[in-house]
Symmetry: C2
Subunit: 212 residues, 2 copies
């Protein structure tokens, strides 16, 4: 788990509550420990803390619950030191706010997930998930997710790895939407949810697929 913000902590707490062994990571041990303590205090579940460096050596399922720039740094900074068979699970959305108006940063690869993939060793798998879950809901582990989330990835194996882990979280249905190019849609759907949140004055807009 990379990411000590509210979303990362919320995800860590949900996974830990589902009895997944979780290590929260940050660039510094101090920030990782602070995050672990906050998770213990708010959600009452214990998680380990470690530096990103150590997480990359120890863990083979790593959530990128950080801003896109942080995910790029993490990937570029650790080059080929990932363990064989590692799958990264990308939660990033390339949002920008221009005068308070949310937009999506246009990336040459088409999406943040594909932007990360282009910088990643081919030995490491990449899936994208939980991109459309509202930060407000994910960050409050006492709120059930109560939605569908879309999983795409660079291979069926990467998607299966993400779905196996996230499948342990209650009240969440995971839908496999194929290759990473689906992230172009998913990242825009986050923007759509933010537009709906602003327009309808909520912080909880999220998606369900009917007819499946």
């Amino acid at each position: 788990m990379g990411g000590t913000g509210a979303e990362g902590r919320g995800l860590a707490a949900r996974l830990a509550a589902a009895e997944v062994p979780v290590v929260v990571g940050s660039r510094t041990m101090e920030r990782a420990r602070e995050a672990a303590e906050k998770i213990q205090a708010s959600a009452g579940v214990a998680v380990e803390a470690a530096t990103n460096e150590e997480i990359i050596q120890r863990c083979d399922r790593i959530f990128l619950a950080v801003p896109l720039e942080g995910a790029v740094d993490l990937i570029l900074g650790h080059g080929d030191r990932f363990r064989p068979g590692t799958v990264l699970i990308d939660l990033t959305v390339p949002l920008a706010f221009t005068g308070g108006v949310p937009t999506i940063k246009e990336l040459p690869e088409g999406s943040a997930a594909e932007h990360l993939k282009a910088r990643l060793s081919p030995a490491v798998g990449l899936a994208a998930a939980l991109k459309t879950v509202p930060a407000h809901v994910l960050g409050h582990p006492e709120l059930p997710l109560d939605c569908d989330e879309f999983v795409c990835g660079d291979s069926a194996e990467s998607r299966a790895a993400a779905m196996e882990l996230l499948g342990k979280i209650p009240a969440l249905r995971l839908l496999d939407v194929g290759g990473l190019e689906a992230a172009r849609t998913l990242e825009r759907m986050t923007l759509l949810a933010i537009v709906l949140n602003k327009r309808y004055k909520v912080r909880t807009a999220r998606f369900r697929v009917a007819g499946l």
Copy 2:
């Protein structure tokens, strides 16, 4: 109503069943009449038939339930002959199938809706709606829509016009998602629904927004 295909007929039947006076249009009167007869035979509701030429002279709410190319032709072919205050309601999605794999055609304006807007007289309003509703469901008026649909448009008035008409259809919640640029997301969501349909072997995948 421009569009005599199954989707256009399904929409016309739903509106007519909700007591909206509907005229189905086509380039030729013969095809328009055929469509009106099919609607009468399958859904048991009567609708008028007319050429697109006549529809543009008579109607001030016109659904573009045609392929994108047809919508472009309709707009370019009729220039500034639209009635003052007309609002076009765009249902098009710029899908392409490459070796059986569905993709979205990249348009310089970002979306089909914005592509149409760029070709339209400023005196005519444009909204986009029902882009993500499955063709299979829309085309069978006996199936309730049972979903949320997103409405965007070039002005609050255009969106309100679309929402007022479509709001008469039962089992459909309309969500205002702002300016036409939202169509970039909506058109991709149609692609996502098609991917889900193929992967989960249904023809009915569509969206609901939770937490609103």
